[in-house]
Symmetry: C2
Subunit: 468 residues, 2 copies
């Protein structure tokens, strides 16, 4: 086993003959079959995997940037080999072709292993809203994995694949990254094609990438983020912002605007992260988080939920009772909103975006906790709506405001009942800011060489690196 | 009287002492008071006008680009001197300050004369939907002026002011230009501030400018199109596209996709316009008008009408019966649309925009008739919905697709029952293309020196210039 399993490490191992592509991929598939987190909904057969291995026979890392790199696909993204369920067996369909982004990754040499578990219809931030089982946290199985891209994050953290695809509407590409000690890159709306993806809120949805290092994200991003003329929400990068200057300004909220839901250990980790950014050459600037928080509320308390109904109207009207009760409650609520409500909320959002942009313009990027806290599976079962909503406090506004963001591991809680669980921060900037975020992420990982994922982050190693 | 009354002609007359600012402005106000078209809802008092004249005392054309230039304001745009009615007496309110764009024009030396008649709540393309009287065409009073910016177009065409402000959601800044032999510039959404403007469809509304020459528009545009940080829909010009090349490509629809509603004389004028553009150095390229036409249908047959309800919800629920029956029918229909409908239509629009953009990308601009035909006031009375809808055939898609457009006079019908009535074409391009459209408009007016407005376009002169 190659650990840490990164693009560079695998390419080295392939090149020096330490392992063959076939051995590595079958090993990954075997580990996925033995997964104990309920991370997967379906996996390739050995025969299906063999086809991919054969297709790589005449290639090498020299001509394919993702040659022989195993990846997982959230099960709301089409892979022609397996059904797409979106976490709902009755909704399941067999796609005739790969999603655009999946096809691009495969063409670059990456090899899919299977489809991962998710909150049903990508509606949730917890990872427990699935008839395929609650997805367990990769570091402490009593805890939630985070969602909705639950299995995608866990399969990366647990070393079953190098990277995975998730989706992110309200935070699904960031929350599970924080909970599993990995990175999550949520690019700008329209940078990764959503063609072949089951919509959640189609005007906000992003396909995201989970990986253990910023180097991996930097290798995968240009392959994944290819313009798709046939995706009506696809956008071309208008200009290039390649890096953040050595001495940079980063925005932070004042103490009163932060919310840790009584998780003091998380709060300590956050403050340590601010210190680390300062040590990297950053200058903290207090910004007003209010317009961001107000936009966040609009997403869950406003008419955007009707996008979820618009996406599923036909299925939902015929099969409502085949969806989870919590999903019925959420999507069913969409019927209360009129078109006039939708436009009125759009106007509110436009005004909030103007205010938020003014805050963002003062700095190179803003940093927040990815989530204020984390919950056990039992806690979420007892209060599924409120606790889910708490997890979106720092994430819900991101796509509404058209920002790009990266979730980064930022150490482990040192004390309290949640000791040992990972903590994450999110850096965000304007649309099309992905390259700049990747550059600062690279500097972050050099400054703070944490254990990667879950395999390195077991209790015996955590002592070495509490909160950086 | 200075005729043609343009910015340059007035500035010459002021500079050489042919007329004083006071004389000219009081003369304009007197002519507006004698207007026979029902173009005005309210006019300044002599005392109010005098204040503006006094404020200009220490200035000249050398320091104020619009020094002493009289203009009219559509009565859905705030002028602090007069109430804003939006064409509905019960809605009327007294604004405490000028609309942002009005303030900018006044600061540049322009002087408002009064507030002009409009289709109630800017809902219509006819100019007859007003309790302040049907606005009559400036060239043939049996005909409609076009709307909703009815009085704004007529007051310019009839030589009562040099320019005027209109608004444009579905075509209101272009249709009345075509019907009154003047120009109408509909810039990109967000280029002219809409703060202090009664919303129609807030996400689509544009403030527009009517004038008799492209030179006037070029003088007024940079004053009017100043970024307003407090308008949540305001946008900064991202790049400069200054002019169209001497040899250019322009898009035209195939014969089957054009619609003149049996107005053969208009059809002849359109084909003559294509010939003129070719003589100017243009090469006609057949493009597919279908995605544009489909987007146009979405505006009137889709949920965007709910924006009109969202804008007026409080007033409309309490005072519905104080609006015109046709307005009650239209805005009342908004209640049928759900938020899910609104998002579903947005997705359709996004797909159509991708297709339309592909057509536009083949050429420097696209040219269409501004309208296929024109109607008498009696015809519109007999069939107010369908005929209004016909007038939007070439205009309804423009703001939905986020394009900029200019309506240009293109000659007069040579024969048929509508002989002598003006015909207009519209050139359009992507967002932020205003300078390029102005450059081609200037070349157009040099190539085709038509009589200007209504005063030069009386029957005895029209023979000289039939369709160019």
């Amino acid at each position: 086993m190659i650990e840490p399993m990164t693009v560079a490490a695998l390419h080295r191992a392939y090149s020096n003959g330490a392992i063959s592509v076939g051995e590595l991929l079958h090993d990954c598939l075997a580990r996925a079959r033995n997964d104990s987190h309920q991370a997967w909904i379906s996996l390739l057969s050995d025969e299906q995997l063999e086809t991919y291995i054969i297709n790589l026979a005449d290639h090498s890392p020299a001509d394919l940037p993702l040659y022989g790199i195993p990846f997982a696909i959230k099960d709301n993204i089409d892979l022609a080999d397996l059904p797409t369920t979106a976490g709902c067996p009755d909704y399941s369909y067999q796609p005739s072709e790969h999603a655009f982004v999946v096809a691009k990754l495969i063409a670059a040499g990456a090899v899919p292993i299977g489809k991962t578990n998710l909150d049903q219809f990508a509606t949730g931030l917890v990872g427990t809203r699935s008839p395929y089982g609650e997805c367990h946290n990769s570091i402490n199985g009593d805890y939630i994995s985070g969602g909705s891209s639950a299995g995608s994050a866990v399969s990366v953290a647990d070393g079953q694949v190098v990277f995975s695809l998730g989706t992110d509407t309200a935070g699904s590409g960031r929350v599970p990254a924080a909970f599993n000690n990995i990175l999550g890159l949520k690019g700008s709306i329209g940078r990764i094609s959503c063609r072949g993806v089951v919509p959640a809120c189609k005007s906000l949805d992003c396909v995201t990438i989970f990986a253990k290092t910023s180097d991996d994200l930097a290798a995968i991003w240009p392959v994944a983020a290819q313009f798709d003329e046939q995706d009506e929400f696809a956008r071309l990068q208008p200009e290039l912002i390649k890096a953040v200057a050595p001495n940079f300004k980063f925005g932070v909220a004042s103490a009163e605007q932060l919310e840790f839901f009584a998780d003091d250990a998380a709060k300590s980790c956050y403050h340590q992260a601010i210190t680390t950014l300062t040590e990297m050459g950053g200058q903290a600037v207090i910004i007003d988080l209010a317009p961001f928080s107000q936009a966040a509320k609009l997403l869950y308390e406003g008419p955007w939920v009707a996008e979820r109904l618009a996406a599923l109207r036909e299925f939902f009207s015929a099969h409502q009772e085949q969806t989870l009760p919590v999903i019925q409650t959420i999507i069913g609520g969409a019927a209360n909103y009129s078109a006039a409500d939708a436009y009125a909320a759009l106007y509110q959002l436009k005004a909030l975006k103007r205010q938020a942009d003014q805050q963002l313009a003062q700095v190179d990027f803003i940093v927040t906790p990815t989530t204020g806290t984390i919950y056990t599976i039992d806690e979420v079962k007892a209060d599924p709506i409120t606790l889910n909503s708490n997890l979106g406090f720092y994430t819900n506004f991101m796509n509404l405001l058209d920002y790009s963001a990266i979730a980064l591991p930022a150490g482990f809680r040192q004390n309290g009942t949640k000791q040992g669980l990972p903590f994450g921060i999110t850096l965000f900037g304007p649309a099309f800011y992905e390259d700049a975020l990747l550059s600062i992420a690279s500097r972050w990982q050099k400054q703070l060489p944490l254990p990667l994922g879950a395999l390195q982050a077991q209790p015996q190693t955590i002592d070495l690196c509490v909160c950086g």
